[in-house]
Every structure is written in structure tokens, then in C-alpha cells.
């Protein structure tokens, strides 16, 4: 079987259920692939791993992928299993935040490490400075948990619909005490978990064929996961070596993730792409990317995989 390494963007959780299902249900094997899934973590930059040859395919968000491409990393989107964005800004109601117009003067928690681009372009579209100048917001680098909101160190924090939001709820704060701003609803959604490879892989026919088989099996995995969310969550749980994940949380996460993957057959929707690029370039004086990317995505793989 052909060996293939997949680098995830984050730790083993239902966010990546499709790949674990494909592995567990033998979809990769059926395609003649021997896939190794490498979990990510707070310090892992998947692009770096890809460039260093540690992985053949990576899962990444489009904003950071495009930024990396502009920085000189020749990476290309070959598939986009996630149709919608799960990103939100979650605020405590008691702080009095009701809409984006209330943001100035507030303290907002933001993930960095390449995950800050959606937030930054949203703020620049709103015209709110993030550099600490007057009339702007105070930005905190949020660690990997929801403490800042619970400890009231921030008025709002970044959350994912499928993960951190539920951690806030689990911490004993009920949904009606929270105000949430989904990026989708604010019209600033950018594409999340896509599959990326180095350009050189696409030029090589054998490699390209491997990728086709990989995407086909992965999408099969995703659709299986959407149909059997609880079973998929259990598969994820089986693959979690830390032993820290809980069944309830993963089942709930799988349910939320299914909503995000629902609209996608794997092929990147050029409209979504265009919207993401526009959003990233609209950043006023400090856009995330400065020029329209070229060749940053391809349908070649998905076309072959899905025919």
C-alpha cells in the first residue's frame, strides 16, 4: 500500500472524524493507502511540517494557508470538506455587549498562531483598531482554554461552535447568559478545515493519483460520520491516545461538526473561495494577504476523486 501522512491542525477530536472513520472503516485500505494521521497541537504549524517533509497532506484553515502561500510556501488546496465556518465570538451577557458596535473599549480573547486572521479581517471591516489605539479593542492572546471568559478577564472570547462554546456551557454558564456572534452570520466567514498539499505533489502523476484516492476515501469517511455521528465519535475516542476526551463532548462535537461539513462534497466552492479572499484582502492598511493568490486551489483532485 502507498504510504501517506496526514497532519491535523489540532489534537485528536471529532473535528477530524472523517479521517479517523476512513482509517477505522478501512476506506483508505480499500484505496490501497496506508495512512498515518498525525495529531497537531498548540505549537504545531502544519505548513512547517508539510514543508519539512513530515507530512504529505495537511488540514489547515484557508486564511493561514493563503498567508503562508504569500510568504513563499507553495501550498495548494485540493479539497474542502468543511463548507461553513464554525467560528464565533462569545460574550457574557452581563458585560452588556449586544452587537459589534459595542466592541470598542472591550477586551476580546483571540487565538493566534495563524488563527487570528479571520478576527483581524472582521475587525478591519468593522473599522475597529486592534492595536490598542483609541476607540479600538484590547486584544488578548487567548490560551487553549476558555478560562479568560470564566475568570472574567475578557468580555468576549473566540469559540468554535463545536468545541469551546460547549466548554463554556459545561463550566456552568447557561446559553441565555451568553451572546454569540457567528462569523457566518456576520458575513465574514472564511473557509476552515481544508486539505492542502505542496505544488510539487500535484505535478507528479503517481502522487496525484495517491491524493485522488486519499480524498475519495476521506470524503467517504466524512459522509459516513455525518450519517453515524455517535459511532464516529466513538471511533475518534478510540484513537485518542491521551485518554482525556469524553464521550459526551465528542458526540456533541460530532453533531456540530456534521452541520459544517453538510454542504460539501469535498470540492472547493469557488464562490466561498472568492469570498474568503475578498475578506482577507479587505483589511484596510494591514490586509492578511496583499494580492490575489494564483493557483492556490485546484479541482483536479476532487474532479478525479468524485467522478
Amino acid at each position: 500500500a502507498d504510504k501517506l501522512n496526514l497532519q491535523l491542525k489540532w489534537v485528536t477530536q471529532a473535528q477530524f472524524a472523517g479521517y479517523y472513520v476512513a482509517l477505522d472503516q478501512g476506506f483508505y485500505e480499500e484505496e490501497g493507502l496506508d495512512v498515518t494521521i498525525k495529531p497537531g497541537g498548540p505549537d504545531i504549524a502544519p505548513v512547517q511540517v508539510l514543508m519539512g517533509g513530515g507530512a504529505d497532506v495537511m488540514v489547515d484553515w484557508m486564511p493561514s494557508a493563503l498567508a503562508a502561500r504569500e510568504a513563499g510556501a507553495p501550498i495548494v488546496n485540493i479539497a474542502q470538506p468543511f463548507k461553513s465556518s464554525g467560528m464565533m465570538l462569545t460574550c457574557l451577557k452581563e458585560t452588556g455587549v449586544t452587537g459589534p458596535e459595542d466592541f470598542p473599549g472591550r477586551t476580546l480573547g483571540v487565538w493566534f498562531f495563524g488563527n487570528e486572521y479571520p478576527f483581524l479581517s472582521w475587525m478591519s471591516q468593522l473599522g475597529i483598531p486592534t492595536d490598542g489605539s483609541a476607540g479600538g479593542v484590547t486584544v488578548l492572546k487567548q490560551g487553549f482554554n476558555v478560562d479568560p471568559l470564566l475568570q472574567k478577564q475578557a468580555d468576549c472570547i473566540s469559540t468554535m461552535t463545536y468545541n469551546e462554546y460547549w466548554q463554556v456551557i459545561d463550566a456552568g454558564i447557561s446559553a441565555d447568559e451568553l451572546v454569540t456572534f457567528k462569523y457566518e452570520d456576520q458575513g465574514v466567514a472564511t473557509l476552515e478545515d481544508g486539505l492542502y498539499v505542496l505544488e510539487s505533489k500535484l505535478a507528479d502523476e503517481a502522487e496525484a493519483d495517491k491524493l485522488v484516492r486519499f480524498v475519495r476515501a476521506s470524503m467517504k469517511g466524512w459522509k459516513w460520520a455525518e450519517e453515524n455521528p455517535d459511532a464516529a465519535a466513538m471511533i475518534v475516542l478510540d484513537n485518542d491516545e491521551t485518554g482525556a476526551q469524553t464521550e459526551t463532548h465528542q458526540k456533541r462535537m460530532m453533531g456540530e461538526v456534521a452541520k459544517l461539513t453538510a454542504g460539501s462534497n469535498g470540492a472547493l466552492d469557488p464562490e466561498d473561495y472568492a469570498r474568503t479572499v475578498a475578506s482577507l484582502m479587505s483589511g484596510g492598511s494591514d490586509p492578511v494577504i496583499t494580492k490575489e493568490p494564483e493557483g492556490a486551489w485546484t479541482h483536479a483532485i476532487t474532479d478525479a476523486a468524485l467522478q
Binding site: V11, G41, D43, G53, N145, Q167, E241
Partner: protein, 291 residues
């Protein structure tokens, strides 16, 4: 054994402080919950609640103790000592990287020290850079080390071990340089009157007289090695080991799990250091240096 009572007293004092702090820190959450539910709580209820929260800001000692037991002793009793939910298994993963890293770091440290003591050019050029190397935040370059090693095909235990070696070689260099230089002028002159060769001087004088320093630096190095292995686990994908447990606990706000992993790490460190202390005592006694 005279130390038992003082240690117990101090431990008791710390536990008392800890319980007090747990009540103070976790109180707010209890009160908030009660306010939301529209309840009024008595002091006793508040205190009881602060010690039994699922995600306390500061878990109470008995919660940590129970979690430690559940993930170690209880697992052993059930015969599941080497499953993923067992701290024994995670501890073992960390321990193996620690020991390999400690071996590499100590070896390298001793070699460097020997070079520094015997070669003036090395002494003058290497020492300042060894110091500078320790001011580099390891957490910052650990992912890069992992990536670079990955790209040349090395993965698994070794990258973690290299990070732990990076942290442990420094105390060994510093200690051994001091130790190998500890013979006084007269002891060295004595060998010169015998016209002893450098290697005779090393084995008969420098090496034995560096023993007390060696063991002290081994203890520091071992502790540093463990920290290195844990740091190395974070960017390796954080799938197993005590570092992964810490991270996962932190990620899901499971403070009890963080604290139990933390204590497991400290117990591991204390045990390893204790073992070196034991070897030290035996060796020095054999050498007649312990009185």
C-alpha cells in the same frame, strides 16, 4: 527519621493552606451558580461545594489524590495499568524519553566538561555559548527541532529525548567543569612530581575528585531532563505522556486532571532524583568520601 515529624508538619500546613485557598478561589463559582438558580447557600454548603466541583479553579487535595489513585493504583488493581487512561502508562512514555535524553545529555555534558578542562581554546569559546544556549526558550524551538528532525526522518522517542538532553547537558557541564577543576594545586603538583601522564592525572585525580559534583549535577540534570521530555511532548502532537495529559487537561479545563498529571510528574522527578541520591550515597561511601 528525625525528619518525619517536621515534614509531616509542613505537609499538613501546606494542605491546610491549600484547602483554604481552594475555598477562596472556588467560592465565586459556587456563588454564581447559586445566584443563577436563585438559591441561598449556608457557609457549610458553600465550603462543601467548593471541594467537590468538577472544574474547580483550584482542586482540593483530596480531589487530586482521588484522581491520582483512580489513574494509577486503581488501574493496576483492574489490570489496566498500561491503558491510555492510566497515568502509569503516560508516566512510562515520559520516563523513557527522559532516561534516553538524560543519557545523551549527561554523556555530552561530561565530554564537553572534559574538553573544557583540558583545552584552553574550548574553555574560552564554548562556555559563554553554553550559557547563551540556556537563555533560548526551549518551548519556542522545540517544535522546530521536531520538524527538522522529522524532515530527516527521525521521529518518535528521539526528538523528545534530544530536547531533554538539551536541557540536561548544561547543569552537567557546569558541575563537571567545577568538579574536574576541584583538585587543588598541591594535589596536581604531586602528580607532576611523579611525571604522570594527562590520562593518569584524569583517572587518578580529576575524575575521583569530581564525584560529589557529578552527582549534584546529575540530580539537577535529571529534573531538567524530565521537564525537557514533557516540553517535547507538547509539539510532538501531544498524544501520549504526562505532557500530553497536562495539555489535554488544560485544553478541556479539567483542572483536576492537570493537577494530578503535575503531581505525577513531580513524584516521578522526586523518585528519579532520589535514586541518584541513593547511588551517590553508595558510591561515595565505597570511595570513602562520605563520613
Amino acid at each position: 527519621m528525625r525528619s518525619v515529624l517536621p515534614i509531616l508538619t509542613v505537609v499538613m500546613a501546606i494542605l491546610a493552606l491549600w484547602y483554604g485557598a481552594a475555598v477562596m478561589l472556588n467560592r465565586q463559582w459556587t456563588l454564581d451558580q447559586a445566584a443563577r438558580a436563585g438559591q441561598d447557600l449556608t457557609i457549610a454548603q458553600i465550603v462543601a461545594d467548593t471541594m467537590a466541583q468538577e472544574r474547580p479553579k483550584l482542586p482540593a487535595p483530596h480531589q487530586v489524590g482521588a484522581e491520582l489513585w483512580n489513574t494509577t493504583g486503581a488501574m493496576v488493581l483492574e489490570g489496566r495499568a498500561f491503558t491510555r487512561r492510566s497515568l502509569i502508562w503516560h508516566g512510562w512514555v515520559t520516563l523513557s524519553a527522559t532516561l534516553v535524553g538524560f543519557g545523551i545529555g549527561t554523556g555530552l555534558g561530561i565530554l564537553l566538561a572534559v574538553g573544557i578542562v583540558h583545552n584552553r581554546a574550548m574553555d574560552m569559546s564554548v562556555m559563554p555559548w553554553a550559557i547563551a544556549s540556556q537563555t533560548i526558550p526551549i518551548l519556542a524551538i522545540a517544535p522546530m527541532i521536531i520538524v527538522v528532525l522529522n524532515s530527516v526522518g527521525i521521529s518518535g522517542l528521539l526528538p523528545k529525548a534530544i530536547i531533554s538532553a538539551y536541557l540536561s547537558f548544561f547543569p552537567v557541564v557546569v558541575g563537571m567543569v567545577a568538579g574536574l577543576r576541584s583538585p587543588d594545586r598541591m594535589q596536581l603538583d604531586l602528580l607532576r612530581t611523579y611525571s604522570a601522564s594527562p590520562s593518569q592525572a584524569f583517572w587518578k585525580l580529576r575524575w575521583p575528585s569530581s564525584m560529589p559534583y557529578l552527582f549534584t549535577s546529575l540530580k539537577v540534570g535529571m529534573a531538567a531532563s524530565l521537564v525537557g521530555a514533557i516540553v517535547g511532548e507538547l509539539p510532538t502532537g501531544a498524544v501520549r505522556g504526562l505532557g500530553a495529559r497536562l495539555l489535554a487537561g488544560s485544553y478541556y479545563g479539567q483542572t483536576v486532571q492537570i493537577w494530578s498529571a503535575l503531581f505525577a510528574a513531580a513524584i516521578l522527578a522526586a523518585t528519579l532524583v532520589g535514586i541518584i541520591g541513593l547511588i551517590q550515597r553508595i558510591t561515595l561511601k565505597r570511595m570513602g568520601m562520605a563520613r
